[in-house]
């Protein structure tokens, strides 16, 4: 099996890019992995820019038109490319100032989701902004890409929504099911995080089974060298978790993401989306 190799940070030209860069730089330092800043350029051949309404075609009409369109599109691509390059370079320097040295930058054409999916094999952690460039002029409080990406990508994804502050503790929203157990194993296996205290929080109905699960989580983490604090908070999971996040000033939330089918989420809403909307804390979601 191929060992995951890099941290991939997706940035678009929005204020979130800085947050993404800072957090991904932090992660790269933590895990001693190379960082790649990726800027994806959407192409829109379905949109014309012509303002020629003369409707006349003369000698070599086809060739001339083809040459003109090629020239115009080439010009446009060059401009976008150059703007993207300068933008990425700025972010790279920002990361380097923060002390992360191994930073690569890359621009690619294509759709966001497909591009991220193609790279899965080489990526240990994805970092993206919870909202993007369209945030300023849409009412959405969660970027429309986040859910589709989380469902498709089987790697941990760190989504950030606010300015960087050095993370000092973790909270795992735990329900004892497969995906969140995966989160626990993932954290326990990362010695690089062992100095951060981990809070494991369960909520909802308390049963024998859940106690057993909580015990398992504690044991696994302690075995990994972590200091663990567990809590059982009956009530609405979203509210309870938000409360703990605020009370204990937790810096990173870890949770399983979108365990329900898309159809179920459509009708009953998704807990993942609720939490991502409600909290400003950087969140690692895991969809296995």
């Amino acid at each position: 099996m191929n060992q995951p190799k890099k941290i991939l940070a997706c940035v678009d030209q929005s204020p979130y890019a800085d947050y993404v860069a800072d957090y991904s730089a932090w992660a790269a330092r933590r895990f001693s992995l190379p960082l790649e800043l990726l800027h994806i350029i959407d192409r829109h051949p379905e949109i014309a820019t012509s303002d020629d309404h003369s409707g006349a075609i003369g000698f070599d009409a086809q060739e001339n038109l083809l040459n003109r369109l090629t020239e115009e599109e080439g010009q446009r691509s060059r401009e976008i490319r150059e703007r993207g390059r300068v933008f990425l370079n700025g972010l790279k320097q920002r990361c380097e100032r923060a002390g992360t040295d191994d930073v690569d930058i890359r621009q690619r054409y294509g759709q966001l989701l497909d591009t991220l999916d193609e790279q899965q094999r080489d990526v240990a952690l994805y970092v993206l902004g919870r909202r993007g460039r369209s945030a300023a002029h849409t009412q959405r409080d969660l970027g429309r890409h986040v859910e589709s990406i989380s469902r498709k990508i089987q790697r941990p994804i760190l989504t950030v929504a606010s300015e960087f502050s050095e993370p000092k503790s973790l909270l795992v929203a735990y329900d004892g099911k497969r995906m969140t157990r995966g989160c626990i194993t993932l954290i326990a296996g990362n010695a690089a995080l062992a100095d951060l205290p981990v809070h494991v929080v369960m909520s909802g109905k308390q049963t024998n089974e859940s106690e057993k699960q909580l015990h398992w989580a504690t044991e696994t983490l302690v075995l990994g060298g972590f200091s663990v604090e567990t809590a059982y908070l009956p009530g609405d999971p979203e509210q309870q978790i938000m409360r703990v996040l605020n009370d204990r000033e937790i810096d990173i939330l870890v949770m399983g993401a979108y365990s329900q089918s898309p159809l179920r989420s459509l009708f009953f809403g998704s807990k993942t989306n609720d939490l991502l909307r409600a909290s400003r804390v950087p969140t690692v979601t895991v969809h296995l």
Partner: protein
């Protein structure tokens, strides 16, 4: 969902404006070729409306313009003359049905046998046909017609240097119409050519006996119409693909053309297909999405319904000018310059396609002869990849012939002549393991060679026939994939 948004609504303003510009270029072609087909302009104009609107939804190439075309109209002349309009409607519907079937069985993939030279020949022949169709309006007419047509062309090509904000063909038509009305110039106008649409098209079932005899009359026409319609549509789709750097769904386009023609036939229109010139105009004016095609069709009908009194008074000379423009814009002028530099064989293919088409007025025959010729030239070229080496051995008792290259019908003779039958020799060994035997002709040529040597009293041994004839199995690519890598090279 994203697809619908992208294909319809991502380019609204440009699409609508382009549709308007294109509608102006659809009218002259529909009118001119209705007349040539021997029907009222109404038939062509209804067809253009129906086809443009239907193909906007059903087609596989957003941004391509389809309507009543010259290429199709030229094929209907005798049908209309001998059997009348109702049979034309029936043929149109049948054409549509055939095109849908062609789409389902992916006949479009046969387009890969149509070489670049044939496509160029097709385009040039089309331009020539469009131009020739204007000649009746230019021969034996008052002096004023020449002046008006010339002035029209001058406006069409001159105005863009001043402004590109208004369609110059529109300006030419409006100005010439105004002048001819104001000065009362006596020239032929659109109104003289026959009925124009006065209402929305209505549904009608062709009034023909539904029997085998009718089918016998209609089927040959429908078959030709299907072929020409799909040829021009798929070629135009490729052109639009190249211009916009996007891809299209060719099978869906075939089916879409079929649906559009069926609709046209039932709404009193004639068969049509994609239009190269108008599609180029559309892309040039910024049309990219399906909305441009739809709006072209709708603007066309609106123009005719609301301005019919004015449309009636447009002098034919103005439409001639527009069609001459379309023909100039469609013609591939590069191909003339390339005649000297391109390989002789591809020039011959191009010119043959043009000549056959112009002579028969049938693009299907032109393309067929072009395709046959290019196949012939290809076979001839590949047939030259054949080397036979010989080497004597065993102290002069044995001669070994080693055959390298392609043996098939075009090279079998050369294969035969490569052996020295006069040599007095005890034993002949023919090593064909590094040759490819492509057909039965190759095997029988080898048989002949063997017999000839035997007749001279020599023992003959053939080596590697199995390897050589592996290529004869029709689906050898499935048979052994690794082999195909260097299939055309000597092993």
């Amino acid at each position: 969902m994203t697809n619908i948004r992208q294909e319809w609504f991502s380019n609204i303003r440009s699409d609508l404006l382009a549709g308007l510009v294109v509608a102006l270029a659809l009218i002259p072609e529909a009118i001119a070729f209705s007349i040539i087909a021997g029907v009222d302009p109404r038939v062509g104009l209804y067809a253009s409306f129906c086809i443009a609107v239907v193909i906007a939804f059903a087609g596989g190439r957003p941004g391509m313009i389809s309507a009543a075309t010259g290429a199709m109209a030229l094929l209907m002349v005798t049908l209309v003359r001998e059997h009348g309009l109702q049979y034309l409607f029936a043929a149109t519907v049948l054409t549509g049905v055939l095109q849908i079937i062609a789409g389902w069985i992916r006949l479009g993939e046969l387009m890969r046998f149509v070489s670049r030279s044939v496509v160029t020949g097709f385009v040039n022949a089309l331009a020539i046909l469009i131009f020739m169709a204007q000649l009746p309006e230019l021969i034996d007419v008052p002096y004023a017609v020449y002046v008006m047509a010339g002035a029209g062309l001058a406006i069409i090509y001159g105005l863009p240097y001043v402004t590109r904000m208004v369609p110059s063909p529109l300006v030419a038509i409006v100005l010439l119409t105004a002048v001819s009305i104001y000065f009362g110039i006596d020239v032929r106008t659109v109104g003289d050519m026959g009925d124009l649409p006065s209402t929305l098209p209505v549904f009608l079932v062709p009034d023909i006996p539904l029997n085998l005899e009718t089918l016998q009359i209609v089927l040959p026409y429908a078959a030709t119409l299907m072929v020409v319609g799909l040829l021009e549509s798929l070629m135009t789709a490729t052109i639009v693909d190249d211009l916009t750097d996007t891809s299209s769904n060719k099978s869906r386009e075939c089916v879409g053309q079929g649906v559009a023609n069926i609709a046209s036939g039932f709404l009193g229109g004639m068969a049509g297909c994609a239009m190269i010139g108008q599609s180029v105009i559309n892309v040039k004016s910024g049309g990219r999405g399906r909305l441009s095609t739809l709006s072209a069709g709708i603007f066309l009908l609106l123009l005719l319904l609301f301005f019919s009194d004015w449309v009636r008074q447009i002098p034919m000379a103005a439409l001639v000018a527009v069609m001459v423009m379309v023909s100039i814009g469609t013609f591939n002028w590069d191909s003339i310059r390339n005649l000297r530099t391109h390989p002789r064989s591809s020039s011959v293919v191009m010119v043959a396609t043009v000549i056959v088409t112009v002579a028969t007025h049938d693009l299907a025959q032109g393309v067929l002869s072009g395709v046959l010729l290019s196949g012939f030239f290809f076979a001839h070229k590949v047939g030259r990849i054949l080397i036979v080496k010989s080497q004597s051995g065993d102290e002069g008792r044995l001669r070994t012939y080693t055959v390298l290259g392609q043996v098939f019908f075009a090279s079998a003779d050369r294969f035969n002549q490569s052996f020295d039958y006069k040599e007095v020799i005890e034993k002949v060994r023919i090593d064909v393991s590094r040759a490819h035997f492509w057909d039965i002709t190759a095997v029988s040529a080898l048989d002949k060679v063997v017999l000839k040597f035997r007749r001279e009293g020599a023992d003959v041994e053939v080596i590697g026939l199995n390897e050589a004839s592996a290529t004869m199995v029709d689906r050898f690519a499935l048979h052994d994939k690794a082999e195909t890598d260097d299939l055309l090279l000597p092993h």
